[in-house]
Amino acid sequence: MYAKSKQISHHHNDDKIFSSCALFGMINLTGVRFTSREPLRAISSMRERGNGLGGGFAIYGIYPDFKDLYAFHAMYMNLKSKERAEKILMRDFRILLSEEIPTKGSNKLPNPPIFWRYFLEPEPSKIKDEYVDSDEYVVKRVRKINIGVKGAYIISSGKNMGVFKGIGFPEDIADFFYLDEYEGYMWVCHARFPTNTPGWWGGAHPFNILDWSVAHNGELSSYGVNRRYLEMQGYKCTMWTDTEVLAYAFDLLARRHRIPIKLIAKILAPPYWEEIDSMEIKERLMFTALRKVYGSLMMNGPFSIIVAHHGEMIGLTDRKKLRPLTAGIKGDFLYISSEEAAIRLISPKLDKIIRPSGGEMIIGRIKSPQSLEVPPLIRREHI
């Protein structure tokens, strides 16, 4: 079952891999865990939006028994890359459990890579010498393996969560990884339509760093500058996709720069100057400063994304809304989807349906009385 030839990544040396996609996210706002049944049905219903060259899931709350340990999901193209990556892992971490992720052989998914998972924590003696917190320590190692070890990719590195992804339709991927055996309180699902063939396993979504995951539908004209800005901040983009850039942008802004989530949306999809100019002075200065300082992280071009981290799911589109996104609420559930039909399929009678305008963020947060925030609709009339 281990792959031989074709799974290696990026054949054509394109600037980046283009893709169009379907997104579906579902969160239980009280934190109750649920199975793959509903999210899988929803994402599979948007089959037209994918082409079988990428599908994936980020599931939160799946490893309650190891919730204080980092759960690494690793994708290895061959045994050699596994050996080399494990050398780094064994040196820098205390590994409490290392096991193969159970997968099902299938002729639908030829040549799959090797999938392995590790539950681990930073090696106490080493982290002490580096004067960094454990998150930063982990990010450094993930980067080191993804950049430095050929054919080895840590595809998820958060606690009590995991990413499962590969080449295939989402239902094939779910089947391959036995996802019907996992439960989580939040599922972010993705189906992909890359324009170059063959897609590759590492290019599938969601992308993850620590507990931040991003699933994305779009094509960023600003990719070149986004990437160069992030590289200046020490990130190295290895997956050639817009989505990776988005994941790193969230890591930089939310974790390292501690920018409030609401404002991150306004960095990725900022208001027009015309709107900023008509704001009250304090707000105007703040939004002007955001565009001045973080202009290189503006995501220009069509995109809709679902971003998730523990306890929070966020949906956002570009400021012109060139890609679709709809949200629905039913009881304790928040759904965010590329298409309303997918939500209606599993929850026909919604309490509320929200169709955000361009640049407007949908945030679902667990265990808070106002768990759902919808910023006021911004009207834009331009000739």
Binding site: S221, V225, M232, H257, R258, A289, N300, P302, K320, H382
Partner: protein, 503 residues
């Protein structure tokens, strides 16, 4: 000494059309045309003609043609007309040759080897007529990170942003000093800057009192001669630019001859009338980078930290390291002036042989500042030979924040690139301080032409951005993925950080 120089141009007149109105005689400042009363015809001394086309365009009956002299030296691939003529001229004069405007040698223009991208299928191009496309550009120092205070649902910005410039277009007007050009040119550019929401750099010759009213759109320059610099001047500008060097003459000072230093110019420059205005090659208080830091902070102190300070250098071999030093010395804006950058007067040999192309300088400076993690803290203005809006877009994609245009603005006013600025006889009334000739440049008319040019380029920039699928210029800045090279070597592509077309 008898001259062995061939006339470069031949002036021909259709005598059947000529009405003897003598307008050509009045218009020519080089004394080409004269009236022969005995024959009742107008004749020409072709050897004086510089091909400025003033007479051609002002002849009411289109009777005049200026063409290249077909009598040429026995030139060949190696000994071209220009080299032979220069030797003959120097053999007669015994001096360094002067020239005006920018380097005209056939070094590779990289703009012409770079092509832009456009959206097809996977993302939609944006139509600037229907959707807003933003080209506002802020120039100045930015913090690495913004900090916020959050409390009871309110978010407040805690970081203070240093004073900066806000231009409604990425196009600014380059420094041209009062003395090199006249007050009408300054007034036209200042008014155009106000109308376009951009900035006009007044150059090193001080700022005329009549122009202080436009000072919110003026960048004042401090050069090695310190002409016209006092506290009032420094405080007048929206920003201060320290001029270390100029693309047309890196490493060379300036020399405004005493004949040009009229009473007015003398007063503005704060020197006695009729004396030569000499700008030394170095600033004599800047012999190294730590001295530059002192001047930057002296200017900031003097203006109480209310204005950004820019430092302008000519693009030379190690610009990347120099620019990094300038950023660390406290400059808020770095200006790079490439080998094509123009001048009112420079030794021709310097103009044509010193410096490097601006395209390569932008690419290497932007890359170096990124490698050092400080690119976002300073702004970068590219200058020197920007010819159209595509050059502007390519400069920004390579890594500039904005560009200065000088030559292009003068061409809009009437300049025909005859390169005789140093004679002070500019027949178009631009590079002259002669009060009579200066009247030819009507600031009202000239300012409209410059405004029209910027407006036209703004439209084109938005078209190009929209085609690339971007609705804001900050997504273009340093976005080299949007560029592809044609006909460049691997090494050139590597320095530009650009892929080959087809890749």
């Amino acid at each position: 000494m008898r001259t062995y120089l061939l006339p470069e141009y031949i002036v021909e007149r259709d005598d059947l059309k000529c009405t003897r109105c003598k307008i050509c005689i009045e218009q020519c400042t080089y004394g080409v045309h004269y009236y022969n009363a005995a024959k009742n015809i107008i004749e020409s001394r072709s050897e004086r003609c510089v091909n400025c086309l003033r007479c051609v365009l002002f002849c009411p009956v289109n009777a005049i043609t200026v063409r290249r002299n077909l009598n040429a030296y026995r030139e060949n691939y190696h000994w071209t007309y220009e080299f032979i003529a220069s030797i003959k001229r120097q053999a007669e004069l015994g001096s360094a040759l002067l020239s005006g405007m920018g380097c005209d040698r056939p070094y590779l223009t990289f703009w012409d080897k770079l092509l832009l991208n456009a959206c097809q299928v996977t993302n939609p191009p944006i139509d600037p007529i229907r959707e807003p496309i933003e080209i506002r550009t802020y120039l100045g120092r930015k913090p690495k990170i913004l900090e916020f205070k959050t409390g009871d649902g309110d978010i407040e910005l805690e970081t203070k942003i240093a004073p900066d410039l806000c231009a409604e277009t990425p196009i600014l007007f380059a420094a041209m000093s009062y003395g090199a050009v006249n007050l009408n040119v300054h007034e036209a550019l200042a008014r155009a800057a106000v109308e376009c929401g951009t900035y006009f750099n007044c150059g090193e010759g001080g700022l005329h009192p009549n122009l202080y009213k436009y000072s919110e759109h003026i960048i004042v320059q401090v050069a090695s001669g310190r002409f016209g610099v006092d506290l009032k001047y420094l405080n007048a500008g929206a920003a201060i630019e320290i001029k270390i060097g100029q693309g047309a003459k890196p490493g060379i000072g300036g020399h405004l001859p005493g004949e040009k230093v009229s009473k007015d110019i003398a007063a503005v420059r704060m020197i006695p009338a009729g004396t030569d205005a000499l700008s030394p090659a170095p600033h004599h208080d800047i012999y190294s980078i730590e001295d530059l830091r002192q001047l930057i902070y002296a200017l900031k102190e003097a203006t109480e930290y209310t204005k950004p300070v820019a430092v302008k250098i000519a693009a030379v071999h190690n610009s990347a390291a120099i620019a990094s030093g300038i950023a660390r010395a406290g400059a808020d804006i770095i200006v790079l002036d490439g080998v094509r950058g123009a001048t009112g007067a420079a030794p021709k040999i310097i103009r044509d042989n010193v410096g490097i192309p601006i395209e390569l300088a932008i690419a290497s400076v932007d890359q170096r500042l990124r490698e050092e993690g400080i690119r976002n803290e300073v702004s970068l203005i590219a200058s020197g030979g920007i010819r159209n809006s595509a050059d502007v877009v390519k400069a920004i994609a390579l890594g500039a924040d904005a560009v200065y245009i000088g030559t292009a603005a003068l061409i809009a006013m009437g300049c025909t690139l005859c390169q005789r600025c140093y004679t002070g006889k500019c027949s178009w009334g631009i590079a002259t301080t002669d009060p009579e000739i200066s009247k030819r440049l009507n600031p009202e008319d000239a300012y409209k032409r410059v405004v029209n040019l910027v407006r036209a380029w703004n439209i084109e920039i938005k078209e190009m951005l929209g085609a690339m699928g971007m609705d804001s210029i900050e997504s273009l800045r340093g976005n080299r993925e949007q560029l592809r090279g044609v006909g460049l070597t691997d090494r050139e592509l590597k320095i530009l950080g650009v892929k080959m077309a087809g890749e």
